[in-house]
């Protein structure tokens, strides 16, 4: 690897373009500043006999013009950077989701099919990838310079990062938030490969029979943790007639709008389901009693992700 890693994502190239524009603006201003200083240093040095003229008294015209000019340039830069930023953190709907858990000092990655890797991330090219990330201990930061993107990974919350790589290759992965002694060693690589190669990679390692995909693992947890006791087998929901308690259906839940007891509606995304499992009292759902126990501290981050994968996999027939 040589020093310069050209951007391999569309957004990355746009960021490069923005940085280039900023560099040009800065260089123009710096050139002006340094040229004027040097010019004045020579022309108005005390020994120079050049005629100075009376000192100007009216300064406000200059002040207003350079203030206005600065403001105008800044506003353009703000719009540019802000627009791109909003796109950077709005993943497309069809993104392939991969789960990342950071801990001192390693990155643990789990694919939907249950393939796990450490300090490495294999992805297909030409397909939007969305990382759903959380941390087991302190704040980390998932940063891939070649993609021009990074985001902090916080304990107790999900952060999302997405990108679409156009060129196959191996790219450096860094943790860029100080996370303790091993911070510098919390690095890895992102391997981008063509779709067929990626399929092959996914199929490698343990034989499909020995490896559970995340949803299957989640299904086992769903039973073992007693979720099905209220929410029913397959998450069909419970009522006094079936499971004995009134519990919302989980099949088809993911991505739907959910009404809360407060009257607000929220999208049932990963963050929402995580909160429902760990802090069920935080956003009680309209029409159901508050009886769900909290699983906070009793279930690992990776198991929460598996449960979420299972709930996502439940496509419901009855769209209630």
């Amino acid at each position: 690897m040589n020093g310069y890693a050209p951007s391999v994502t569309v957004e990355g190239r746009e960021i490069d373009f923005l940085i280039l524009a900023l560099t040009l603006v800065s260089c123009a201003v710096l050139a002006l500043v340094f040229a004027l200083i040097l010019l004045y240093m020579v022309r108005y040095r005390a020994e120079s006999g050049v005629t100075r003229g009376a000192p100007g008294r009216k300064t406000w015209r200059f002040e207003i013009s350079w203030t206005a000019a600065t403001l105008a340039v800044f506003f353009v830069l703000f719009i540019w950077g802000g627009n791109l930023y909003v796109r950077l953190f709005q993943p497309p709907a069809d993104a392939l989701q991969i789960y990342v858990v950071g801990k001192q000092w390693m990155w643990k990655v789990e694919h939907q099919g249950g393939q796990r890797e450490i300090n490495a991330l294999h992805i297909p090219i030409n397909r939007p990838i969305q990382l759903v990330m959380t941390s087991e201990d302190v704040i980390h930061d998932f940063s891939v310079p070649a993609f021009r993107i990074k985001h902090d990974v916080l304990p107790g919350r999900y952060q999302s990062l997405w990108f679409q790589v156009e060129t196959p290759g191996t790219f450096e992965l860094f943790c860029t938030q100080l996370c303790g002694v091993g911070h510098y060693s919390m690095t890895g690589e992102v391997v981008a490969m063509s779709q067929p190669e990626f399929e092959t990679w996914l199929a490698g390692g343990a034989a499909p029979g020995e490896r559970e995909d995340m949803a299957t693992a989640g299904k086992a947890l769903f039973a073992a943790r007693g979720c099905s006791g209220c929410h029913g087998e397959g998450g069909v929901g419970g009522s006094s007639a079936t499971t004995g308690v009134s519990a919302p259906a989980l099949a088809g839940l993911f991505g739907r709008l959910v009404r809360l007891q407060t009257g607000a509606t929220v999208t049932a995304d990963e963050r929402f389901i995580r909160d429902c499992i760990l802090t069920p009292d935080k956003a009680p759902i309209a029409g159901y009693p508050r009886i769900m126990p909290s699983f906070s501290g009793q279930i690992s981050e990776e198991d929460v992700l598996r449960l979420i994968a299972y709930i996502k996999s439940l496509r419901s027939g009855s769209r209630t």
Partner: protein, 536 residues
């Protein structure tokens, strides 16, 4: 009035240790501060030197990542709270504020001495933390790393900063009240030198931001000692709350570090251009605007931290706003040089270097305010380079400029001019060599706070470390010749630069009472007579 012995120099008014340690004279307290701050500057600088030494090799040369983390944490803590924040206000500010106001002392002289003792107590606690093994959290103390995971002397380090904070508050309070209440007859607000205005703006931040940091650190200690607190994600607390509170202080604190520098430069450029400051009122209000808007931008440290998109957009827009007054100042200093009679003594060389380095540092700040560009550049060496350009290239240059400019006033001695100029040039060159490569490193993606790094970053790191060696020489030089001048320098007249300002109307060094007769101000500042320049 019982004070008839008004003409005894403050340096000769008692020679015992007691006469120094129990003094309430603002000038003596300033000297006490200079001694303390010089020590912390070189202690922090030594840590920086070891950091650069370690980074010569991609594998790290000092052997252990733990040592390295402790070194950069110590460097940050000492430099920020024990050098940059106090540097100009407590030394030059303490010495000059009453002189520039035409007053006999600050409003609360005993509070001023107390502030020095608090500072020293904080310094002792900080040194205890360092000697006892140090901390490895970085100067930013992010939770939950600091509250639950770090092994170092977190509580001692945090206590040191807490105490130093009260020293800051006392100093800022003293300045604000003095500027309100102790201006000489005739000195209206618009007749005040810009240095006093910038000291006022600085003090506003010290008084209103420092308490927020103090409370934040208390919350942090509470969490660390009792294992539970409002930042703890395990019970639903928010680690981002810590970052919000920390940067509510620490971003304005960046302006604490640079605003007094603006003041120093605004005094020096007119003095060596023999010309009135261009756009006085704009420079003045730019300082006040920075002090206020500086409080509205802290969120730009958190664009990738997980804060909401809305708040990121708001903070990005506000961050651009705070750059406008800084730009105004740069243009006004250049406007001041236009049509002047410019001399190139050491203070002016430092001041010119300051404008260039500060402009570079400021402009690279725009990269970090632009949301999408920040995503790539933040938490890399780009940020390190950016704030060192502003803090070291800017602030340390301004401190040295001011130190040289007012050295004859403070000590009654002239420093050797040729050495002074050489120092200014060596620092400028060494600084750029050290920190410019770091912009490139950051763009290439090298993360901050890495003990070892990938091979392909080696060349630029080597260049940076080489520059640091030159920079070290540049900083040791003034330590040598300024100390020499204390004993062998030529005696200074009352006004060796022919500058305006009340401080130059008293003898060098000034008498204990500052002014034999309370001065009456009739003229605006910086009324340089242009004919005078032609004589020289």
């Amino acid at each position: 009035m019982t004070h008839t012995s008004a003409q005894v120099s403050y340096l000769d008014d008692g020679h015992t240790l007691r006469s120094w340690l129990l003094t309430t004279d603002h000038k003596r307290i300033a000297i006490l501060y200079i001694v303390a701050i010089t020590f912390f500057f070189f202690a922090g600088g030594f840590a920086a030197f070891l950091i650069r030494y370690n980074l010569i090799s991609p594998k790290g040369l000092i052997g252990s990542a733990e040592t390295y983390n402790r070194l950069f944490s110590m460097h940050g803590i000492l430099m920020v709270w024990f050098f940059l924040v106090p540097a100009v206000p407590v030394t030059l500010g303490n010495f000059l504020a009453p002189l520039m106001l035409g007053a006999r002392d600050l409003a609360f002289p005993r509070l001023n001495l107390l502030s020095w003792y608090l500072f020293m107590a904080a310094g002792v606690v900080a040194l205890y933390a360092v000697v006892g093994g140090g901390v490895d959290t970085g100067w930013t103390f992010y939770t939950p790393l600091t509250s639950f995971y770090s092994q170092g002397h977190v509580v001692a380090a945090v206590a040191a900063i807490f105490i130093a904070g009260f020293s800051s508050i006392a100093t800022g309070l003293n300045f604000i009240v003095s500027i309100h209440k102790l201006r000489a007859p005739g000195m209206t607000w618009y007749k005040m030198p810009v240095f006093l205005w910038s000291l006022y703006a600085t003090s506003v931040i010290l008084v209103l931001a420092t308490p927020v940091l103090a409370m934040t650190l208390l919350l942090l200690v509470f969490e660390r000692l009792f294992g539970i607190g409002v930042f703890d994600p395990a019970i639903g607390g928010d680690p981002l709350l810590f970052q919000h509170l920390f940067w509510f202080y620490s971003h304005p604190a960046v302006y604490v570090m640079i605003l007094p520098g603006f003041g120093v430069i605004s005094e020096i450029i007119p003095a060596f251009s023999r010309k009135e400051l261009f756009g006085y009122k704009f420079v003045v209000w730019a300082s006040i605007a920075i002090a206020v808007i500086g409080f509205l931008v802290w969120g730009h440290h958190m664009f990738v931290a997980g804060a909401s998109l809305y708040s990121a957009l708001v903070f990005s827009l506000l961050s651009y706003m705070v750059a406008v007054p800084s730009a105004i100042k740069v243009f006004n200093w250049i406007g001041t040089m236009h049509n002047g009679y410019i001399r190139f003594d050491a203070p002016m060389l430092y001041a010119i270097g300051f404008i260039g380095l500060f402009a570079t540092g400021g402009l690279t700040g725009l990269f970090l305010a632009a949301l999408a560009a920040d995503v790539h550049l933040t938490q890399t060496y780009f940020v390190v380079a950016h704030f060192h350009y502003v803090m070291v290239g800017g602030m340390v240059s301004a401190y040295f400029a001011g130190l040289h400019f007012w050295w004859p006033k403070m000590t009654g001695r002239l420093y050797p001019e040729m050495w002074g100029r050489a120092g200014a040039i060596i620092i400028f060159v060494g600084f750029n060599l050290t920190f410019f490569p770091q912009f490139l490193l950051g763009y290439l993606g090298m993360p901050r706070r890495y003990f070892a790094y990938p091979q392909h970053f080696e060349a630029l790191n080597l260049l940076s470390s080489g520059g640091a060696l030159i920079l070290a020489v540049g900083y040791l030089l003034p330590l040598g010749y300024l100390t020499w001048s204390l004993f062998y320098g030529a005696r200074a007249s009352a006004n060796p630069w022919g500058a305006t300002g009340l401080e130059w109307t008293t003898p060098s060094p000034p008498p204990t009472e500052n002014f034999a007769v309370t001065p009456i101000v009739t003229k605006a500042p910086y009324q340089y007579r242009r004919a005078e320049a032609v004589e020289r």
